[in-house]
Symmetry: C4
Subunit: 208 residues, 4 copies
């Protein structure tokens, strides 16, 4: 599916405003991308405040995450490109830092994923038709070696039977994807709600 650069920019600016209104785009954190066609991805420029994006704040990369433009793409472009290579249906990827995703992943034991069970809100996620299920959001250790991280992520995701709707980087944040920007945003919102519920449960002192 092709999306014009102009439409992509408009959607990216808009989702940045909405995420910022929910406190999910603090301090230039986060990055958003949209697949333009088989070869090109529109992605936010590095270092801009995502709640106040303008038309100059979106650049282009190829499917290997390499810049096609003078403006520097997000440092995490390789992860975005990896998602598009892995999942033909992914047309948008949203990455956010949030208190819930950062704190929950830091509190997990090493090697553990975020496991969400029994929540009706899980049905927002693609392919989930009941609350009576177990959704695993894979957690990866964070790294500054982005190519290596992208390879680790790709290897593990490729080996999974079913595509998760998102992944987490420990102490960093969440990457969510979908067939449109709104679908990816829906995953971000749902996981934010669910991870906050998980944290609330930990705060009260009950653990599985």
């Amino acid at each position: 599916m092709s999306l014009t650069l102009s439409s992509a920019i408009t959607e990216i600016i808009a989702v940045g405003r909405r995420l910022d209104a929910r406190g999910l785009a603090p301090a230039t954190t986060g990055n958003y991308s949209v697949r333009l066609n088989d070869e090109r991805i529109a992605v936010t420029v590095s270092g801009r405040h995502k709640g106040r994006l303008g038309h100059d704040d979106v650049t282009q990369i190829d499917l290997d995450g390499h810049a096609l433009d003078a403006k520097p793409p997000s440092a995490e472009a390789a992860l975005h490109a990896g998602v598009y290579r892995l999942y033909a249906r992914a047309e948008a990827v949203l990455h956010v830092h949030s208190v819930a995703s950062i704190t929950l992943t830091r509190l997990l034991p090493p090697g553990a994923d975020v496991v969400l069970e029994g929540y009706e809100t899980l049905k927002v996620l693609p392919g989930v038709t009941t609350h009576d299920t177990r959704v695993v959001i894979p957690v990866f250790d964070n790294s500054q070696d982005m190519p290596a991280l992208a390879r680790t992520v790709e290897a593990r995701l490729r080996a999974l039977e079913a595509a998760p709707p998102a992944l987490l980087l420990r102490g960093h944040g969440v990457y969510a994807w979908g067939g449109t920007v709104e679908e990816a945003e829906r995953v971000v919102e749902a996981l934010e709600l669910l991870m906050t519920c998980e944290l609330e449960t930990l705060r009260v002192g009950r653990r599985n």
Copy 2:
């Protein structure tokens, strides 16, 4: 009481915006309905983001919860219809997922209801004239078998001496009703405040 479809849609769109502004409409969760007349109910279409509803996002069902329109009603239409059959005075039903309603019901022992005592804010709820009282919000186990759930809910509510202002589905959220959209919204807001107080108390009081 009759409400025109046009007025109903306007009110539904507006309450969706207000609830979304409070973080109570994340990620397409929730559903809202308004009784049009003895036979018809206007209800939100399934899968739309409730904070950004448009005129095409409202459809109609009958008092048995069956679609009267091509657009698919909320999957939970049967519950809405059940409330209107049970309570002649109910003219609006609002369902929301929230951290407080989801987490509190998951933390309760099996079979327990949410019991709110001693709060002045209880006086927002219909029929409550003092803080020095005990208001029980019945909690039901969640289920994907909507007709069965609707029957269970109806049976239990019919057997209660007095109509509660709302009900909770464990790990899912709250259903609130009232004589107008604003009255139902008031119940949603009041319960959100009260359930958050309950959770805050649990957070402070429980220790390993």
Copy 3:
């Protein structure tokens, strides 16, 4: 000092919007008043949503809390009137229900007041010039017998050496006052911040 009814209404509507934007006016809770002159007080009508007040949502009472208008004043009019009788400098009184004020007062031992020490933010409160001080916000048990409650409040406040900036009703909320609506609003905001800090400290497990 005289304030015209028209100005009073304008200020009351505006402060309601601002408090509601902060989540401090849920579900018709709260009530606000402004002293018009030696004999008359403008106060919000009972049962209106304070975040969406209109010109018809303000009525008048006298210094004994009695209605001077057909529209029913807030049920808590007697408390507002009591503050104006006690404190010549009070020109505005704001009452809000909030998670912090409700939960903190419910967690205190019986008979205990809210004691705030060591916070720089205390300097927002009238007469406080250092963080290195102890500010006591008196807490009263809630009651539906408003005349009796007003008498209890008045007796205790009259006996205090210095006027507190506010009072709390246990499990109910806060009453704050000031020389203008903005000053009273400042007290509401400051106490909300400080009581939230107190609750946060309780949650972490440290107590004085």
Copy 4:
């Protein structure tokens, strides 16, 4: 670098609105400044609500923190001036009171600083290029003796090898700086996120 007074005022008003929208400017707390040139600093007037600043709410001080205008500068002008004297690259200083900064510093043992390790969001801070690092935000005991506090702060900061992006006053709040108002705001937002994560971790981890 020179900034006209008019531009400075515009930026100060705007950042106040944004911080207030995030709940970071309650009740006249906080103060903001911008370096105009080698000799003059524009700073918010004392006692104004920072979310609703107007053109009359900004005054000027010199590099020693002395008023150059009839309008009284923030009581903390000396701290702002100290930052500009210490750091040639600082062109804006933002001070806010927040639940996170107040509560976290009160919970620390005496003499302890806030230490942030392992968070990707640390990379928002100037000079930080990896999450795998340890950023120390120095904490000072609060004081009403502003000249003395400014001297203590200056002495300690001058002795540090590298400039921190901010400092904390215990039970008071955070001071953040940057090359522009937006850079300083970025530090405020990032630290707010990170300190909230720290508090969340404490809430989950500490029990009596």
